[in-house]
Symmetry: C2
Subunit: 364 residues, 2 copies
């Protein structure tokens, strides 16, 4: 698919599936480059709607609406990984869809994703499929305890998963995840969590942002720091893994690879935790902290344009504003060097990502 079309011209329209804050920030990046966006989202109060040329408010299964959407855009991309595979396939018969829908098919299924990663010789936690309750004891043999049982599909921010510790009843865990086809993963005694946000262009250029160190709270990203407190060796290995995955997917756009750094004798091992086939929260710091943002890299890639070479502006700390923390925006506006971002969401629900703040400290 990637070879079939010419780079977009300024004034062309990028179709974005999904209208959350990631779609909003993608649209803002496209606007800088003279490109228009058309956002397709079933949710009438999508934050991305406020900043784009055209919107479609329809279900992802509405083929008439998808047909009209395809006719209005030059290329299609998405801001979240749970776009129905049928939607992506339907659209890819009409317009280029980037990254290619086969990537979605893999990353929407934790078992396929882990199998894909392991098949490339890249380390992961020990894992085993759990299709039925009966399969759980054998899977526990393979992983040991503690282990995390996760539904294969549609999990995010800690939803659809539960931990099996010593004494946890497997049957109760199985009910906890709703009796869905699942994957059991060994608990990883990690020292820190890192991620690499990488971009790959249509002609295979790859640019990685600096490795980011992440801290979660209640399974939701709370803080990202750059540079990560890791050795050069670990940093190089993390970037190599991200680049290997991007190549293996024949990926076009930005992807994020979440990894664990695990102590291993004198050194460290890097294990892949999760792949996000899209721009990612742990790359938000690039908006204020680098010469080019993850959002612009993604837009450039799907437009068929060359990627930029990111230069970091200093030491970075990115804080998510979750739920009513966003009410503190006034405080952040007065902090020197703080970049304040609010996503234009109407409701301030607990656990909802409402905005973020980037603190940039110039390096001496």
């Amino acid at each position: 698919m990637t070879a079939k079309f010419e780079p977009l011209k300024p004034g062309a329209t990028i179709g974005i599936l999904g209208g959350g804050q990631l779609g909003r920030m993608l649209a803002l990046a496209a606007a800088r480059l003279g490109l228009k966006c058309h956002v397709f989202s079933p949710s009438p109060d999508s934050p991305a709607f406020d900043v784009v040329h055209r919107v479609s408010v329809h279900d992802y299964t509405d083929t008439d609406a998808l047909d009209r959407f395809a006719a209005d855009v030059d290329v299609v991309t998405y801001e979240f990984e749970n776009v129905p595979a049928e939607t992506a396939t339907f659209l890819s018969a009409r317009r280029p869809v980037l990254p290619d829908p086969h990537v979605l098919a893999i990353t929407q299924d934790r078992l396929r994703e882990k199998t894909f990663v392991a098949g490339l010789g890249i380390g992961t936690a020990r894992f085993a499929p759990v299709d039925t309750a009966d399969a759980l004891p054998a899977a526990l043999e393979a992983t040991g305890r503690p282990a995390v049982l996760k539904t294969r599909r549609f999990g995010y921010d800690g939803k659809g998963q539960t931990t099996l510790r010593d004494g946890t009843d497997p049957q109760a865990a199985w009910l906890e995840v709703g009796g869905q086809p699942s994957i059991l993963e060994a608990f990883v005694p990690f020292e820190r969590e890192i991620s690499v946000v990488a971009a790959r262009s249509r002609d295979g250029q790859i640019e990685c942002f600096d490795v980011t160190e992440n801290q979660h709270r209640d399974h939701i990203l709370k803080v990202s720091k750059v540079p990560a407190a890791i050795s050069d060796t670990v940093g190089a290995e993390a970037r190599r893994i991200a680049a290997t995955l991007a190549e293996a997917f024949d990926y076009v756009g930005v992807l994020a690879v979440e990894m664990f750094v695990v102590p291993d004798g004198a050194g460290h091992t890097v294990l892949v935790n999760e792949i996000a086939p899209r721009v990612h929260n742990s790359g938000h710091w690039t908006l204020d902290g680098a010469s080019i943002s993850q959002f612009e890299q993604h837009i450039r890639a799907v437009a068929g344009w060359p990627l930029g070479k990111p230069v970091r502006h200093g030491r970075i700390e990115m804080l998510n504003l979750i739920g009513d923390e966003a009410a503190d925006y006034g405080k952040w506006l007065t902090v020197p060097g703080a970049g304040v971002h609010l996503y234009g969401k109407a409701g301030m629900r607990p656990g909802r990502k409402m905005g973020h703040v980037t603190l940039v400290t110039p390096e001496e």
Copy 2:
């Protein structure tokens, strides 16, 4: 007016008069902060329309349309200084208009502006009013030759002005500017042109961006460089002038002051050339080259929010892409550290500002 209303809340709507690239970049800055924009412009293909919540395509004299616009927004600002005074006055009876319309009344008239500046004890070129052809010889006595005859109103990018050198027939010059009420200004033997982009908040906080050095070509800004090659004394004087003007106007928002640096014995004198009561082309570098942009400062000011303290990311060179220079965007995309901006304009006319490029070189 400025004391009468509360700071905007996220989700509020800013009304922008004018839909060019400045309105577009203001809207993008508002979006970062969770604020919506409604752009009012008579021109159906306004670049700002692509990135906002709502648009009004009507003449500035359409009071019904202005009424509806006012009803939809929480505050009104503008992206260009030639908004009809009647429009601003009409709106200010309905919503806060920032900066206050009295600033427009002064800056729309070169004679009033120069008189205002001189009245503050700030240096300008020698000038004299020219209301009729008959007044021109006496005015020339006051200024000497060469001198520049400029219409008092509606001039920009060199339009509506002509130079009287030795031998230029005053009558021909008068016809050249269309026989409009004009001002004659002595030619200034400047060493360099600089500008200060300053922001003032509703409660009087003032933040100046670093002094910018500007080069024009055919009366259109071509290159801005930061820092300007000036002494600390000249830099401090330039910022003092900008701050003095902002105070004197009781200004709210971003204004730009264009100045000449003139050799004066062992030192230099700073003379004000022109005031732009809006974000300004010579401040575009702040999008990529500073921790906060002129556009965000303006939005914060009109929203009643605190200003940021700008930190520059390095040495900057900003190049305007004028007319068919924008066709070279592909070249700029591959230059490391270059921020590329295209304004989404349909027609690539000669002399039209189509985009800009910012080159940031980290300082050692």
